[in-house]
């Protein structure tokens, strides 16, 4: 057999590609239910984390989410609502925006009566691992928890090298080596805060 002929090369490449695509399709459809469940866990967990609601494990998060969190709509904005033990209302929205390398999807939650951010969490990001990817680290996300925000100006990055510990100044620290990603995250957070302010003003 002449393995260097044009026809052989075309047929060989086609058959090999077809074989690998068939195997990949099989693996994909086999793993898809597990991946979908993981994505659902991830979304429910992110919303509960942003709302400051604690849970023990993934299954508990889904149960808690299904029982306690209501999905609502205000005008054309989808949002989530949770009422805590002392009757306070916490509302959350999902917001997407541009990161440095791709889309970043986050969830931001506020307590409208106290005008504080109860938290924010990352659903999806494509930033550089170890640099911009650190927006998903607990210390970065924890900075937003309890932060008083201004409905007009939102939250901004504080001055470098100081270390922000004041939760009433609507400022958080950027990540060293990832100033652009940090800045872009605050833009997405502020877009979410604008929506949340509209919802808080128009609903009870």
């Amino acid at each position: 057999m002449n393995t260097e002929g044009k026809i052989y090369s075309i047929i060989f490449t086609f058959v090999l590609s077809l074989f690998f695509v068939a195997v990949l399709a099989f693996v994909f459809f086999t793993l898809k239910p597990t991946i979908d469940i993981n994505n659902e866990f991830q979304l429910d967990r992110a919303i509960l984390n942003a709302m400051g609601v604690s849970f023990e494990n993934n299954e508990a998060a889904v149960t808690l989410f299904n029982e306690k969190v209501e999905k609502k709509k205000f005008e054309d904005i989808d949002y989530y609502q949770y009422t805590d033990a002392d009757g306070s209302r916490i509302i959350a929205v999902i917001q997407d925006g541009d990161g440095l390398w791709g889309e970043i999807d986050i969830v931001v939650a506020i307590n409208p009566s106290q005008q504080i951010v109860t938290g924010f969490d990352i659903i999806k990001q494509n930033e550089t691992p170890g640099l911009g990817g650190r927006i998903d680290e607990p210390w970065f996300k924890a900075q937003f928890k309890g932060e008083k925000y201004n409905a007009e100006s939102g939250i901004s990055m504080g001055d470098p090298g100081i270390g922000d510990t004041d939760s009433s100044n609507a400022q958080v620290d950027a990540i060293t080596g990832a100033s652009q990603t940090s800045r872009l995250v605050t833009i997405i957070v502020n877009a979410a805060l604008k929506k949340l302010s509209q919802i808080a003003g128009g609903t009870t």
Partner: protein, 203 residues
């Protein structure tokens, strides 16, 4: 031509022909992921898996692959295994998949994988090719872990996220940034080459 001994293959891939020290391959990921040991470990395991299985597949099909399309075929094989890793991580280690983001997909562009498929698997038996791919990936992992240990320790004061240096330690910001990987890689290559030259002189 007889196939090289397994011991020699391992020795070459870890030391005398290390993909990072000697071949200067896989440098992009060396710069990108080595400020964090956890990401480095997962990424390296992905490279070991892909290099070993790509080498095995290329060696298995070598008699059938037309020379003029061999690189396209190698790319298809590499992409196949990388997508499998990506799907497995998404299904069974979703947090790791989220942390590594697009870097898993970028294993496809790691020159070590195609380099070993072209230089070794195209002309050697299956078992030897598997071992060559595995040890090439492991040689890459060893160097990356060395660099990541220094960068994470001095950049964050931690190893695998556990605090090692006291809270009073002031982190070296430069160690978190990509340029520090250049400096460290240069120092690692300098030390390795000096040791090799000394050994050669003695011999």
């Amino acid at each position: 031509m007889s196939a090289p001994r397994f011991r020699d293959i391992a020795y070459q891939n870890f030391w005398t022909n290390n993909p990072i020290f000697l071949q200067i391959l896989g440098i992009c990921s060396t710069l990108a992921v080595t400020n964090n040991l956890y990401n480095t470990t997962i990424m390296s395991i992905g490279v070991i898996f892909t290099t070993a299985l790509t080498n095995t597949t290329v060696s298995l099909l070598k008699a059938l692959i037309p020379r003029k399309v061999r690189m396209i075929v190698q790319t298809i094989i590499i992409a196949f295994y990388v997508i499998i890793i990506d799907l497995l991580l998404k299904a069974f280690l979703p947090e790791v998949s989220k942390a590594l983001g697009p870097y898993v997909g970028l294993i496809i562009t790691n020159c070590i994988i195609m380099g070993r498929a072209e230089a070794f698997a195209q002309s050697n038996p299956i078992r030897h090719s598997f071992w060559d791919g595995f040890t090439s990936g492991a040689g890459y992992m060893a160097v990356l872990l060395g660099i990541a240990t220094v960068r994470e320790l001095l950049g964050f004061g931690t190893l695998y996220g556990f605090r090692i240096l006291p809270e009073s330690f002031v982190p070296w910001t430069i160690m978190v940034m990509a340029p520090s990987a250049f400096f460290l890689l240069g120092i690692f290559i300098w030390i390795a080459k000096s040791v090799m030259n000394r050994k050669e002189k003695k011999a």
